[in-house]
Structures are given as structure tokens and as C-alpha cells.
Symmetry: C2
Subunit: 163 residues, 2 copies
């Protein structure tokens, strides 16, 4: 597995993964009907830095980071991750998470915050805990889960200094 | 005091208030050097619903609300408030807060969330508590305060049902 900067040439594969991932309506805020254009803006819009995890020519997943807030809050990064359903269980999320922490630190960020970790996504929460994140807030019933209805959402955070 | 929808004709006065409010660098994420264009996008960008509090022809303050997240998170509103430094202490923030809760409920939102309440803004926090909000998260050192350096930021929330 290699992780490298994403380019426009990767977008077709990224759109496929995005579309498959949001189809379940249980983890990401995007509706299953999200347009290709909105997906493009999400990964390649202003201020985004996007990476893909690859194996040969195949794209296994992608992540991006950016400043979570402008100006006086711009020292904290935000990041988002998606793994292809076909590549689940192979450590792609963990590898991208570790890569992202290093990249964000190199870019000068002092902390990283996830704004919207759905509380029923126990696999995701467990991974972020292993990577040093903790829950710093819980937004009651902030996500409309396709199967479960309104469920809580966590805000997760870690500082980037000290490894 | 009257509270009504903001229009482009109000923007000059809104820009004056915005500029004065962000100059202190102690409450809002905007740098004191924020451009007029960015200010305009903040109050009149896509998805924003903005109001002004007026007294005769004078604008005392303004607020806006919008969906805090898209799609599966779009049932929660986000709102922002600014009061002219010249109109502090007259209950303008409280009046706009109450107005905003009513408007957001009418618009169909089921909750309201403030994403970035600086922890040293005790007046603001106290007002939001009086209006039924509670702190649901604390983002460590997420704000670079002009005088105090890095300080914590609160996420505040309330449901809109039940008054």
C-alpha cells in the first residue's frame, strides 16, 4: 500500500468509493444522493489537501485535511477518511490515519479535530482512540442514521505534539 | 428595538459592526484583518438567513442561522450573533437569541448548536445558558485569543422543542 497526494486523475475512482460509502447512510453526513459535483468539491475544494491509498493502480481509500476553522482557529486541523468497501479490514484506515497525523504536523497544525463521528460507528471510534484521539464532546441526536433514526455524534480531538 | 430580515441595503452598517467586533480578537474566529468580501459571504452567502436588530434607522446588531451540517445532519441549526459595541448592555443579544430560536423552530430545525463559543467569553456563555443552551463539548486550546493566547472553546447546544 502506498499513500500519495490525490490528483484529478484519481477522481473517477474516488467518486466510486465515495458513492459506495455514503450509500449506507450510517456513517457520513452525506445523503446517498450526493452529486458528483459536491463530491468533487469535498475532496478538491479550496483549502483541501487530499491523499489516496493505492495498491498498484487501484485506489483503496482517500483522506483529506484542512484547517478546521479560519484565522484564530486555523491552528487546528480537520480530517476526513473513506475506505473502499472492497478494501475494508486491511488496515487502510489506520495507515491513512497515521499518515494524516504526520502530514498535518508537518503542515504546522498543533491539533486535529473530527467534528462529526457518528456514535454508532464503533469501529471508527475505536480506531481513532488507538491513534490517540479522545471524545471531547457529544452532540445529541445530531445524525439521522438510515436504520436507527437520530443518534448522537462525537467530536474527537488530539494534539499533534509529542508523537 | 425591531428585528427584521437583513437585506443588501443593511450591509454597510453590518460591515461596520463586524469590523468593530472582530477588532478585539477575543471572541470570534475572524482575524481583525478579515475582508469586506469575506464578511459579506458570512452574512449573505448561500444557505444563510440573516436578521438585523434595529432602532429607527440604526442597526444595533445582527444574527444569522443556517443548517449546521448538510443532509443527514441538516436538522440541527447553527447560529451566529454580533452586537454593535455601541449597543452593548441593552439586551440586544438576548432579544436576537430569543428571536433566532423562534425563527429556527419555525424553519423546522429540531436543535441549535453553537460550534465555537470561546471559553473566556463568559458573558456570551451566561446568556446562552439563560436561553437554554448547555455545553456539550470543549475543544482544548482551539482559539488563539489576542491577549491570552490559546484558550478552550465550547460547543453549546439545545433542542428547540418544548419552548
Amino acid at each position: 500500500m502506498e499513500i500519495r497526494r490525490a490528483s484529478e486523475a484519481d477522481f473517477e475512482a474516488m467518486w466510486s468509493i465515495f458513492h459506495a460509502v455514503v450509500a449506507t447512510g450510517d456513517t457520513y453526513v452525506f445523503a446517498p444522493t450526493t452529486s458528483r459535483q459536491d463530491c468533487h468539491a469535498y475532496w478538491f475544494g479550496p483549502g483541501m489537501t487530499s491523499f489516496v491509498a493505492t495498491e498498484g493502480l487501484r485506489i483503496l481509500g482517500m483522506y483529506k485535511y484542512r484547517a478546521n476553522q479560519r484565522d484564530l482557529g486555523s491552528h487546528v486541523a480537520n480530517a476526513s477518511f473513506m475506505v473502499s468497501p472492497a478494501a475494508q479490514g486491511r488496515g487502510v484506515g489506520k495507515a491513512m490515519g497515521e499518515h494524516c497525523l504526520i502530514e498535518a504536523r508537518k503542515a504546522g497544525y498543533v491539533a486535529m479535530q473530527f467534528n462529526f463521528v457518528v456514535s454508532t460507528n464503533t469501529g471508527g471510534i475505536s480506531l481513532w482512540r488507538k491513534l490517540g484521539f479522545s471524545i471531547v464532546g457529544t452532540l445529541p441526536k445530531a445524525f439521522k442514521h438510515q436504520q436507527l433514526g437520530y443518534v448522537d455524534v462525537h467530536v474527537m480531538h488530539r494534539f499533534l505534539n509529542g508523537g
